[in-house]
């Protein structure tokens, strides 16, 4: 794979990950604020199904099935021709549809910057600050051991 193609795929995947982790409410709000077009032909879904989560024995060994999770997916085609997909945990169909449209618009070179700046970047920054907050709250519960000096010297 050429370098540019690999970078594009990594960026697209990162954008999809951001959309999947964000709440439907946040996506709708930013979508409206950015004035992104929501026009698209639904090719599949949005539909809810299950995925089976896999873990690894001992953390890093052979895979085993842990249990199921709800996932909602959608596939759309935007008027400029790009086909976008979304798979996201949960049952939010509106979110899956918008995220699929966002994926399609992201693939349109004329739209990518707009999608990144108006939607992905603010979602990502909200997710990052939520994670930072969580990390910092957890860090405050870290045990600092100290040694008691016992007896006479």
């Amino acid at each position: 794979m050429r370098g540019q193609e690999a970078r594009d795929q990594a960026e697209r995947k990162a954008a999809m990950a951001t959309l999947a982790q964000s709440s439907g409410d946040d996506i709708v709000r930013l979508w409206n604020e950015a004035g992104l077009p929501a026009e698209a032909e639904l090719l599949r879904g949005p539909e809810t199904g299950l995925v089976t989560l896999r873990g690894r024995i001992g953390g890093g060994g052979a895979p085993f099935n842990v249990g199921e999770a709800t996932v909602t997916r959608a596939t759309v085609r935007v008027p400029s021709g790009q086909v976008g997909h979304c798979y996201a945990l949960g049952r939010d169909k509106q979110k899956a549809k918008l995220a699929a449209i966002a994926d399609a618009l992201w693939q349109d070179p004329a739209r990518r910057a707009e999608v990144e700046a108006g939607l992905i970047a603010p979602l990502r920054s909200a997710l990052t600050s939520a994670q930072e907050k969580r990390r910092a709250q957890t860090a405050a519960t870290k045990v600092d051991f100290f040694t008691m000096v016992r007896g006479e010297d």
């Binding site: 795929q9 990594a10 697209r12 995947k13 999809m16 990950a17 999947a20 982790q21 539909e47 809810t48 199904g49 299950l50 995925v51 089976t52 989560l53 896999r54 873990g55 690894r56 024995i57 001992g58 953390g59 890093g60 060994g61 052979a62 895979p63 085993f64 099935n65 842990v66 249990g67 199921e68 999770a69 709800t70 996932v71 997916r73 596939t75 997909h85 798979y87 996201a88 945990l89 949960g90 049952r91 994670q131 930072e132 907050k133 969580r134 990390r135 910092a136 709250q137 957890t138 860090a139 405050a140 519960t141 870290k142 045990v143 051991f145």
Partner: protein, 370 residues
């Protein structure tokens, strides 16, 4: 001859509307919202997700309300819902080493990379009921401290560097992970299938079995190598994308139990392991699962199978509380015909007994009857 009897439709309908009324309770008390349950009864929600074997907080919260807080009924509801959905596939195995950790403790090492992070734990609380909580007191924001950018390797990896512990459980190269939701159980089963069954198993059942191993029934000297709780990313391979589709994150609890040694003429002694991995925040269940996993490896490790916790068919066949409640609770449903048959039988046996033991009385009875 089989005679079908019908009846009770009105009684059933009225019972269900009475149930709806009692579930709602006093109308002057505000109705519960699902987000209140998700936020404030989060560990109950986690238990329903774990044993219902379906990761979906809102559905678990709905199940808890609908079941009036009866957890096994809620788990039953979630299991029933699962069957209505198509399956999109199996995710890539999660990487607990890359977890966004919210709690991580080890009982084997004081100082370890990443440190001991207590997180939101009940440990070290005094277990005194808090009247302020009853009065709805506001809660202060938790303190924050700058997080060190330090990797948090699994404790098992630290022990593995010295070769003192057996490796993470491997399966033969061509092994496809078994799926108890697709194929019926056939004993003996492989470890991957046992882990799937244990992960959805009843917390109380696994806890009791784990406890029994500590009390000497299949004793194997456990230490908590590590417990970690936090969010991991999920990915699914799908044909329409050139990369794995990112699905979002789920919270899981992982327990690495380190147990006493196993060695042979060929291999030097090393620690053995039990593993627990469950949905949500539930270290009691993850620990119990790890104890049971280790006990169930008795045959593999050349130990005598002498205790209930080592008996795979016993443990795995009885760990599912939906199956268990189904079979126990079906006893209350009408068994009129079965019981009539048993009544006839016991009457006949009594008559035969009387005829044998007390012929005169039996004769009197027969005459009186005539």
């Amino acid at each position: 001859m089989y005679v079908a009897v019908k009846g009770g439709e009105a009684a059933i309908a009225n019972a269900h509307s009475l149930l709806a009324d009692r579930r709602r309770g006093d109308r002057s008390v505000p109705a519960l919202r699902l987000d209140q349950i998700v936020e404030q009864l989060a560990l109950g929600v986690d238990r329903v997700m774990s044993e219902g074997s379906l990761y979906d907080r809102e559905l678990a919260a709905l199940a808890i309300v609908q079941a009036r807080g009866d957890m096994i009924e809620a788990i039953f509801l979630v299991r029933a819902y699962r069957t209505t959905l198509p399956r999109f596939g199996y995710t890539k195995p999660i990487d607990t080493g890359a977890m966004l950790v919210e709690r991580r403790v080890s009982a084997t090492y004081k100082d370890l990379p990443g440190g001991q992070l207590l997180g939101p734990t009940f440990d070290y609380t005094h277990r005194l009921l808090d009247p302020e909580l009853a009065a709805g007191a506001e809660v202060a924001e938790p303190l924050r401290r700058e997080a060190e950018a330090q990797a948090m390797p699994r404790v098992s990896a630290i022990l593995a560097r010295e070769g003192l512990i057996e490796p993470d459980g491997e399966m033969p190269g061509d092994h496809v992970p078994g799926d108890i939701t697709r194929e019926p159980l056939e004993f003996p089963v492989a470890r991957d299938i046992r882990l799937q069954a244990l992960s959805r198993g009843d917390e109380g059942f696994l806890l009791a079995l784990g406890y029994s191993t500590q009390r000497g029934y299949a004793r194997n000297h456990p230490f908590v190598g590590e417990i970690r709780i936090g969010e991991v990313e999920l990915e699914l391979d799908v044909p329409e994308l050139p990369f794995a589709a990112p699905l979002g994150t789920v919270r899981v609890t992982e327990c690495q139990m380190v147990n006493q040694f196993k060695g042979s003429a060929k291999a030097p002694p090393q620690f053995t392991r039990g593993y627990g991995l469950v949905f949500g925040q539930s270290e009691r269940k993850a620990m119990a699962m790890a104890l049971c996993d280790r006990a169930l490896r008795a045959r593999e490790l050349g130990e005598d199978v002498v205790a209930a916790a080592q008996d795979e068919e016993f443990v795995i066949s009885h760990s599912d509380n939906v199956q268990a409640t189904g079979f126990v609770e079906h006893l209350k449903l009408p068994h009129y015909v079965d019981f009539q048959a048993e009544l006839d039988l016991v009457r006949r046996m009594r008559a035969e007994y009387d005829a044998r033991e007390n012929p005169e009385k039996a004769e009197e009875k027969r005459e009186a009857a005539e």
